[in-house]
Symmetry: C3
Subunit: 294 residues, 3 copies
C-alpha cells in the first residue's frame, strides 16, 4: 500500500527541534509466494519491501517468514508474526492516516514482524503457530534473538514467548487477549492485554482495551493503559475517538490522560483520513493525508 500526508507534531517533536510540520509517506509491498503440494499442504514465504519518509532508498526486503499451512494450522519460521503483536484488538484505537494512537497503543517493547531488517540481531530466529477455526484464532510464538548461543548472558538476548486468543460472537461482541514474556528479549519485560469490542449495529462500535505495558529499565515504569474508543460510520464518512489513561511514571510523561479524534472519507479504493491527538507529554499532533492499496 501507499500513503502520504502532512504530519504536524508540536514542538518539532519528530525533527529534534526543527520544523513541526512535515510530509510523511510510506510505501509498502508485501511479497507472498506460495506453492501447494499434492497432499494439500501450502508452503510459502512472505516478506516486505518498504520505504518510509527519511529513508534514503527502498529497503532491500525484510527477512522472510517461511510457513507451512494445513487445514486450520499455520506454522511460521524466521521473521514471524508474533502472537502478542497479532492480537486482533490490540491496536483497535488507532486512527488517522498513519494508523496511530498516541494514547492507546501499547507502550512496551515486544518483537513483531520486522518491516525492513533485523539490524544488529542478525541471528534472530522465530517460530510461530496459528490455529484458526471459525471465529476463534489462537496464536503462540517464540523468538530467540540470537540462536548462535554466543550471547546467552547479554542483556536483551532472552527468548521471548507470547500467546494470544481472539474470539468473536455472533451478537457483535469480540474478545481479544494476549500475553508476552521477556518482551523484545528483555528479561521480565512481561506484558498483558485484554480487549473487548461491541458492534452496536453495522455503523457503530465501541471498545475497551487494558494493557499492562511491562518495563525494560528500572527507572521507567510504563504502567497500565486503559483506553475507551468508538467509531461511527455514516455513508462514506466515519469518525473515530478515544480517551486513554496511563498510570505509569516514565521520562517525558507529564499527564495521565491522552485522547484523539479522527475522521475518514472512503473514496472506494482509497481513503482520506485525518486525526488530532494529544499524547502523554501534552503535545498535540495532527495528521491528514491519503492512503490506498494496490
Amino acid at each position: 500500500f501507499g500513503r502520504t500526508g502532512l504530519f504536524y507534531y508540536e514542538n518539532g517533536h519528530r525533527t529534534g527541534g526543527g520544523n513541526s510540520t512535515q510530509v510523511s509517506s510510506r510505501l509498502r509491498f508485501i511479497v507472498n509466494a506460495t506453492t501447494i503440494t499434492d497432499s494439500g499442504v501450502k508452503f510459502g514465504a512472505r516478506f516486505r519491501w518498504q520505504w518510509d519518509q527519511g529513508d534514503a532508498a527502498m529497503s532491500s526486503g525484510s527477512p522472510p517468514s517461511i510457513y507451512a499451512a494445513f487445514d486450520h494450522v499455520t506454522v511460521y519460521v524466521g521473521n514471524v508474526p508474533t502472537a502478542f503483536d497479532s492480537a486482533n484488538l490490540l491496536k483497535a484505537s488507532q486512527m488517522g492516516i498513519y494508523d496511530r494512537s498516541e494514547g492507546g497503543d501499547p507502550l512496551g517493547d515486544f518483537f513483531s514482524f520486522e518491516n525492513k531488517s533485523y539490524r544488529g540481531r542478525v541471528n534472530r530466529v522465530g517460530l510461530a503457530v496459528e490455529y484458526e477455526a471459525g471465529s476463534l484464532v489462537a496464536r503462540a510464538s517464540f523468538v530467540n534473538p540470537d540462536q548462535t548461543g554466543n550471547n546467552e548472558d547479554g542483556i536483551g538476548f532472552e527468548e521471548e514467548l507470547g500467546a494470544s486468543l481472539d474470539y468473536a460472537w455472533d451478537n457483535g461482541l469480540s474478545l481479544s487477549t494476549a500475553a508476552v514474556f521477556n518482551g523484545s528479549g528483555y528479561k521480565d519485560n512481561d506484558q498483558y492485554f485484554v480487549g473487548a469490542q461491541f458492534a452496536v449495529n453495522d455503523n457503530a462500535r465501541v471498545g475497551m482495551n487494558f494493557i499492562n505495558n511491562g518495563s525494560i529499565t528500572e527507572s521507567d515504569d510504563l504502567g497500565q493503559t486503559l483506553v475507551l474508543y468508538g467509531n461511527l460510520a455514516w455513508k462514506s464518512v466515519s469518525f473515530d475517538a478515544y480517551v486513554a489513561n496511563n498510570d505509569g511514571d516514565w521520562s517525558g510523561k507529564t499527564t495521565d490522560q491522552a485522547y484523539g479524534i479522527g475522521v475518514n472519507y472512503d473514496l472506494g479504493g482509497a481513503r482520506l483520513a485525518a486525526s488530532l491527538q494529544r499524547d502523554y507529554s501534552e503535545l498535540l499532533s495532527i495528521d491528514t493525508g491519503v492512503r490506498f492499496s494496490f
Copy 2:
C-alpha cells in the same frame, strides 16, 4: 530495460587513468503500482530498481514517488519527476547506446528523479504537478532538500523551483521550454532552456537547443550551450548528429566545440546503436552495444 556494450573513452577518462575501453551495462526496472477509486482518481506509486556497471549489487529500490491523477492533472509527492528534467526536448541531442550527448546535454546541476537513493539528503521531499491537454504539457515542481528545517542555512539546502512547457503543432514543429531556480539546492543556480524541433517528414528531423547552464561555484562558469542536431531514418537504420558550442569557462574545458555522430539499427524489440563523440576537453569517446525493453 537492459543495455550492454563497449565504451571507449580516450585517456582512461572514466577509470582514473586505467583502461580506456570497458564493458558498461545497465539494468533498470520501473515499478508502477496503481489503483483507481470509484470516482476515477488514480493513485499510484513509482520507483526504480537499477544496476549500473561498477555497482556491487542491484540497488535496493529508489525512493518512491506517490501520485494521484485525475483528468488532465497529475500530482506527485516524494521523489518526483522534476519539471526542468522532464522538458521534452532537453535531451533530444542524445545518441548512441548510452543515450548521452557530451556536447548537448545540460551541464548544470538540478534535481531529477533519483534512480537509486537520496544518499545524504534523506529528508528531501518534492512536489510536482503535471497538466496535459492534447499536445500541451505543462509542469511545475518544488524540491526541498531537507524538510526537517535543521539545515536552513547550509549550502545546497535551498528549495529548488522549476517549470516547463511543451507544445507540438500539427505541422511538425515542437517547442519546449523550461527554467529552474536554485538548481539542486544551490542558491542562485538558475538555469534556462529553450528548444525547437521540426519534423521535415516522417524520416527526418532537425532541432536546436539553447541552454543557460547556471553555476554552483564562482570559479566555474558553465556558460551557455547552443546545440544543433538532426536525425535521419532509412528502413531499420537511423543516423544522428549534433554540433554544440559552449561559451563557458570551467575546469577541464579546452575548446568551445563538441560534436557527435551516431547510428542505430532497429531489431524490432531491441536496438543496436553506436556513437562517436568529442567533448569540450577534446577527448574522443566511442560506444556501441545493444539495448532492449521488457
Copy 3:
C-alpha cells in the same frame, strides 16, 4: 525457492564455538526478464534476490547477467554463469536439505554466479558462451575481476578462463568435464574435473567424480578428490550416499575419507530431506528440513 530446516554441525563449527544446532533457512527468487525481437533473438536479464540465515535483510538483488540467445547459442555479459561451475555433474554428490556434499564438493576457489553482490570487486565483468545441441552442452567463460585495469598486478586480479562439456547417451551414461584457469582470479589456481554417471534404471543411478582442486596459497595443497556416489528411488522416497577421498594436505584436515548418507521424501511440489555427513576434519553434521519451489 524457499527452504528451512535444522542444521547440526559438531563442535559449534558454524557458530565459532556456540550452539551446534541452528535453524538455517534460505529464500531465493530468480528474476528473469526477456524480450524477443522480430528476427527471433531473445534478449534478457537475470538476477537473484536472496536471503540466508544470518542476513539482516533480503539482499538488494545480485548484479545481473544480460544475455542474448539465438538458436543453439546463448551469450552472457556481466554476472555470468561460469563454465566450470555449470558443469552438469560437478555437484552430483550433493544431498540433504542444504544441497551440500562435505566430501564430494569441489574444494577450490572459482568464480560462479554471484548470489548477492560483487562485494569488493565492483569492477568485475564476465563473458560466457553456451552452445546446446540435443544432449550436448558446451560452455566457455571469461571473468575479469577488474576491468578498469588499475589492479593489473594485484593478487587475485588475474583473468579467469573456464570451459566445460556435458554429454548424455541414450543408454543412461552421462559424461561431464570441465577446467578452469586462474580460478577466482588467483594465478595458476587451475582446476580440472571429470565426472561420469550411469542410470542403471529409472530408479537407480551411480556416478564417480574426479576433481583436481588447485590451490591458492603454497602452504595449502587442496589435492585431488575422488568421490563415488549413488542414489536409489522407491515410490516417494529416495536415498543418497557417497564416499569421498581427498589426498590433499590443508589446514583443518585430519583424514582422507569423508562420507554421507541422505534421504528425501517427495511431497509433490515440496521435498523433505535429511542427511548425515562426516567431513575431512572428522566432524559430523546432520541436516533436516523442507524445501519448496514457487
